[in-house]
């Protein structure tokens, strides 16, 4: 792979990890309100594991790097978010081209989201990370600018506030889950914002 690709992968990973680690407390707070208060620590643990392995991961071609990152998440995070984000990254890696066009990316992202739905037996509209991932994929497909995608993610994240959870621990609360942003929606939006930030730089 190219030197540039290696650097980009590294910068992507670092940016995603940094934003998650920085927001550990907030993610935990959100999960305390309607879950079990571990989402921040879970994601931080996963990101730390990826950072620990950064040299090896960033040296790989993009597809392999994504698969490796996904494997770290599966093996280090646990909980619901571990298998789900792990699946997302592993499936992305499986579907993506080594140097993807926007179309490639859209296709791979859509496929990865399908894999998450299968793993989670879930769909958009149930107050989960999918409620951010699906609209973001839509915006990507519709040719939205970096800024528009960013905004779509934020809007989608905020929209989970009024939803009643039908999947994840928050669903145990039924109507009491309304009024809080879903922690997984927030972590998805954070990661997407970081990715856009890095890709935006290069654009």
């Amino acid at each position: 792979m190219t030197e540039a690709g290696n650097t980009r992968t590294r910068r992507l990973i670092e940016a995603v990890a940094a934003t998650i680690i920085e927001h550990t407390g907030e993610l935990t707070e959100l999960d305390s309100a309607i879950g079990d208060g571990d989402h921040g620590q879970n994601m931080k643990r996963g990101m730390t594991a990826i950072l620990d392995d950064l040299d090896a991961i960033a040296a790989k071609p993009l597809p392999e790097a994504l698969k490796a990152a996904g494997t770290q998440l599966v093996m280090k995070v646990g909980g619901a978010s571990g298998p789900l984000y792990g699946t997302l990254f592993m499936a992305l890696g499986k579907e993506i081209a080594p140097d993807p066009t926007r179309d490639d990316l859209t296709h791979a992202f859509a496929a990865a989201i399908e894999a998450v739905k299968v793993r989670g037996k879930s769909d958009a509209g149930q107050k989960t990370m999918l409620d951010v991932l699906v609209p973001v994929c839509e915006a990507l497909r519709n040719g939205g600018s970096a800024r528009e995608i960013d905004e779509a993610a934020e809007k989608a994240r905020d929209a989970t506030r009024d939803m009643q959870a039908q999947k994840g621990r928050a669903s145990f609360l039924r109507e009491r889950s309304i009024g809080h942003i879903d922690p997984g929606a927030r972590s998805s939006q954070l990661m997407i914002a970081a990715v856009i930030d890095v890709l935006g730089e290069g654009a």
């Binding site: 935990t28 571990d38 620590q41 599966v74 646990g78 909980g79 789900l84 999947k167 609360l173 039924r174």
Partner: protein, 329 residues
């Protein structure tokens, strides 16, 4: 946060080290606490493995030993363990007759155990427990949670495995026990996850949460603190109604403390619950009272009722030797 700990990051490993040392006669840790396993395996026996987030001690590691689990995988606090833990445990305790996973019905647990099953080369089956009647089993939820009833499944299936039951029959038995089991919980206080450092929820001095699970999540309803009798009345009614047609047999009544509930109160709840069962014309065959399936330092308790058919009763009584449950040997 007031806890007997050294640091937030080492709570789990420090506690597991103490646990494994205190019970070194019957169990031993594997792979940097990826799992805790029975010291002496029984060749040819189906291996029983469970696991889940930590913070529910003695579940599950305290139920490893003769007549119950062969291994338990402790996840981070309130976080399901990862597939590599389960694979490592399976490799360590599978003596050739296959592995039965006993999994509480939480998406995290189910997905991680699913991934482990998919990755495993051995023969693996699983039983999902979902005894919590506080959660509706409908299209609009992820289904009922597995709570204290899981202990009952592990005990009875564990005894059958010890007797030589094969994988398919143990899975069927586990599902039968789960089907005959219902639980409901009430919390008087929240619990504090060490990494969070403060209680998961605020609750007034005169309030309680009805229908809580075991992860410090709020329950179904917040209501005024009621008497033990009133609480037992509501919980037993919810449990009994949920059964629809009652299974055969007398019941096991299991009063489970959530971690910060004194024995005095648990026995008092037992008294209230037993009187409620009597009102419903249900006879108690066996009793278990104690803090077995906990939620860190939460105050409160759950009631579990299992209808025991003859085989289940016999298997419940069979010898067991674990850190938390021991009889007959």
């Amino acid at each position: 946060m007031k806890k007997l700990i050294n640091s937030v990051d080492t709570v789990l490993s420090d506690s597991l080290a103490g646990f494994c040392a205190a019970h070194a006669d019957i169990l031993t840790p594997g792979g940097d606490f990826k799992f805790v396993r029975r010291r002496e395996l029984k060749p040819g026996k189906v291996a029983l493995i469970s696991g889940g987030g930590s913070g529910h001690e003695p579940l599950h590691a305290g139920l490893v030993g003769r007549g119950m689990l062969d291994a338990a995988c402790p996840g981070q606090i309130f976080t399901s363990p990862t597939p590599d833990q389960m694979l490592a445990a399976a490799e360590a305790v599978d003596t050739g007759a296959g592995v039965l996973l006993i999994v509480k019905n939480y998406e995290g647990d189910v997905m991680n155990f699913d991934m482990a099953s998919e990755m495993s080369s051995g023969s693996v089956a699983s039983v999902i427990t979902n005894d919590d009647v506080a959660v509706e089993d409908s299209l609009y939820t992820t289904g009922r949670r597995g709570v204290a009833g899981t202990l009952v499944v592990e005990k009875i299936v564990g005894a059958a495995a010890e007797e030589g039951g094969d994988l398919a029959s143990l899975k069927a038995l586990g599902e039968r026990v789960n089907g005959a089991t219902r639980s409901m919980g009430v919390a008087l206080t929240s619990c504090t996850v060490p990494a969070a450092g403060k209680p998961m929820f605020e609750i007034g001095d005169d309030e309680m949460e009805m229908g809580v699970g075991i992860h410090g999540e709020p329950g179904r309803r917040r209501v005024k603190l009621a008497s033990a009798d009133k609480i037992a009345e509501e919980m037993i009614a919810a449990i009994v109604n949920d059964f629809g047609e009652r299974p055969k047999g007398d019941v096991l009544l299991f009063v489970n403390g959530f971690g910060a509930t004194p024995a005095m109160e648990l026995y008092l709840m037992y008294d209230s619950a037993a009187r409620e069962l009597q009102k419903h014309g249900i006879r108690i065959a066996r009793s278990l009272v104690g803090s077995y399936v906990t939620s860190l330092d939460m105050a409160g308790c759950s009631l579990t009722v299992t209808f025991l058919d003859e085989e289940m009763l016999r298997l419940w009584d069979a010898p067991v030797h674990t850190a938390a449950l021991r009889w007959g040997c």
